[in-house]
């Protein structure tokens, strides 16, 4: 049986990928607060959060979130890795979780979106979101690391 975190994240990503902004707004509490620590922005309320995804310059691409690479950790979580480490299953009974998804933006760039969130009755009440760009592995680190996937796939 899927957990509240799995149910929420599946609905949330589906709404984003289908650009279903009515559903997106319904998944947030009315007093939702979101913050972007990288820029200092704070978003208050479901309407403002909706406006941001709806007005993204160039429009968010359909299916912009790659669900194969999703990682979720939640309270009471257990991480179960597939051999390719492409999905992390979470089981949580609490209201706090973290998700990481890979998203593609209108300019073609790929970013990891990492979200520390709180749910209230199955809706997103609070989130702290980080945006981390794909990058090339530097040469100096190569002696110490393995390379997992081709840069073109990032």
């Amino acid at each position: 049986m899927p957990t509240a975190h799995e149910v929420f994240n599946t609905r949330f990503v589906k709404a984003m990928n289908e650009r279903n902004y009515d559903e997106y707004e319904a998944l947030l509490t009315d007093d939702y607060v979101g913050e972007y620590p990288q820029s200092g922005e704070v978003i208050r309320g479901a309407k403002n959060a909706r406006a941001i995804v709806e007005h993204y310059p160039g429009g968010l691409p359909q299916d912009n979130i790659d669900t194969r690479s999703t990682r979720i950790a939640a309270t009471d979580a257990r991480w179960v890795r597939t051999p390719t480490f492409t999905f992390v299953r979470a089981e949580g009974t609490g209201n706090v979780g973290v998700s990481a998804v890979r998203a593609r933006y209108p300019d073609g760039s790929a970013w990891w979106v990492v979200n520390f969130y709180e749910l209230r009755d199955g809706r997103l009440a609070r989130s702290t979101t980080f945006f981390a760009p794909a990058f090339e592995a530097p040469d100096w680190r190569k002696p110490f690391v393995e390379q997992r996937e081709a840069p073109a796939e990032r």
Partner: protein
Amino acid sequence: MQTDHTAIITRLVRVLNERNYDLWETLVTEDYFEEYPQSGEVIRGPKNVRASVENYPGGISKDALDLADARVTATESQWVRTPTFTFVRVEGRGNVGTAAFKGRYPDGTTWWIILLYELRGDRLAKATAFFAPLFEAPEWRKPYVDSKSART
């Protein structure tokens, strides 16, 4: 018994800030596994993870990591916010946690470092790290957001 994730993460950060690489190496398990999903890099074992911090071009700055506004969460966690939302305390019994803190790099740039980690005992066994740069809030978003002074 509770696992004090905050204490463990604080110690890891303090050891890195002191550039005490001998001690750093002992804080991860022998089969430590770290990955950087942004670049596809995977680091295995204490020796390699030590080398990856010790050989950072230009050297890691002393006190490069800023815990003042760190966020940590863990299994069975409780988030306790200060009025300014600057610190999140955590107490968890499980071995899985997440942490976010700011780091300053030799070129002067500041990035948020986000860790999804697993502990074994009180040592770091696995980590998935993300590196997120500071950025200017874009003009188009200003009608919908408040502004905090995060770009420090």
